[in-house]
Symmetry: C2
Subunit: 201 residues, 2 copies
């Protein structure tokens, strides 16, 4: 039987690819790379602007369940945290321990559903204090994934040292890059993405 | 104030762009064209494989509402019907009068929500009898849209005479084209898309 691969990319505006003139973002780029390598998939982008992990945890499972009804290899890629770490007043929109708990809850549900998961670290933005908080979340998320036995791709630090990423985010709205920044993000993810796709259920 | 345009593309696999190696489909192509013309938008692709209008009517409003919370110009593009016209046994999965009623209900909800709508006709597939049923739906949908005062872009017939579309759908799985077919679809929609984007709320 042919492998019928279906993947939902779940997260915020950075998953949705906001700012990318071509509209692909890193998620679309990864799917296109896999297709070019002879691995077509049905992929659904479920990134929503402004959403924190608290927003996402409330809607992701229903949305994915509708899209992962058929197919022989059902997967989810999760990426969020930048909005969690945004300060409103002098506190983050979601407390770090809550962000980690939301991720853990999602991984538990993915496992229960039989959806193979990959988690991608939230990227840095132009505001250094904000990015420092996101970097701590990145560590928390890595720990949650280790416990859950789910691969975690930590590219936060690499992006914070990536000149293209930094320039495009700064020239943009301070949070989103353009096409080249998303291409850099995708290139960093690509080897991990390929390794994950090569694993079977 | 800057125009903050947010658009949900709602429908089935042909909205999702299944079969397009680049993953854009006609929806991604239209968004990219608008961006290139100086009109960036946040666009969400809510096409789901195999779904009929009866499936879509049950989930589209919640999914769009989560994505159209912010922004100054909120819109939806609707396109479905090919799966409604699919025969199971000797009957369509959704009866034509039900398909039309589902569209009418969605347009009523879009108006109530303040979402400006555009409806796109379902395309032909390789099976001529199936496409003949879809062509009748195309006429029904045009009528529903006239009544609702919503623009309807009827490209079903043009696609059924489009050599690129016909060839790619036949070479593919019988329902979905590749990149060039989606490009043809987008090119036919483009003038209507631009005219619709130019209208203001």
């Amino acid at each position: 039987m042919t492998r019928d691969l279906r993947i939902c990319f779940v997260g915020d505006s950075l998953v949705a690819g906001v700012g990318d003139p071509g509209g692909l973002g890193w998620a679309g780029r990864l799917a296109a790379r896999a297709f070019a390598d002879g691995l077509p998939s049905t992929h659904y982008n479920l990134g929503v602007r402004r959403e924190t992990s608290a927003d996402i945890v409330g809607r992701w499972e229903d949305e994915c369940a509708r899209r992962l009804r058929h197919g022989t290899d059902l997967r989810v890629v999760l990426c969020f945290g930048v909005n969690d770490a945004t300060h409103e007043g002098d506190r983050p929109r979601v407390a770090p321990e809550r962000s980690a708990a939301n991720l853990a809850a999602m991984l538990e549900r993915a496992a229960a559903r039989g959806w193979r998961a990959l988690v991608v670290s939230p990227p840095p933005v132009a505001d250094l204090a904000h990015s420092a908080r996101t970097a701590l979340l990145d560590e928390d998320f890595a720990r949650v994934c280790r416990t859950a036995g789910v691969p975690y791709v930590s590219v936060h630090r690499a992006l914070s040292e990536n000149a293209v990423w930094i320039r495009e985010v700064a020239l943009g709205d301070g949070a989103h890059p353009g096409a080249e920044g998303y291409e850099e993000y995708a290139a960093l993810l690509d080897p991990h993405w390929r390794a994950w796709l090569a694993t079977s259920g």
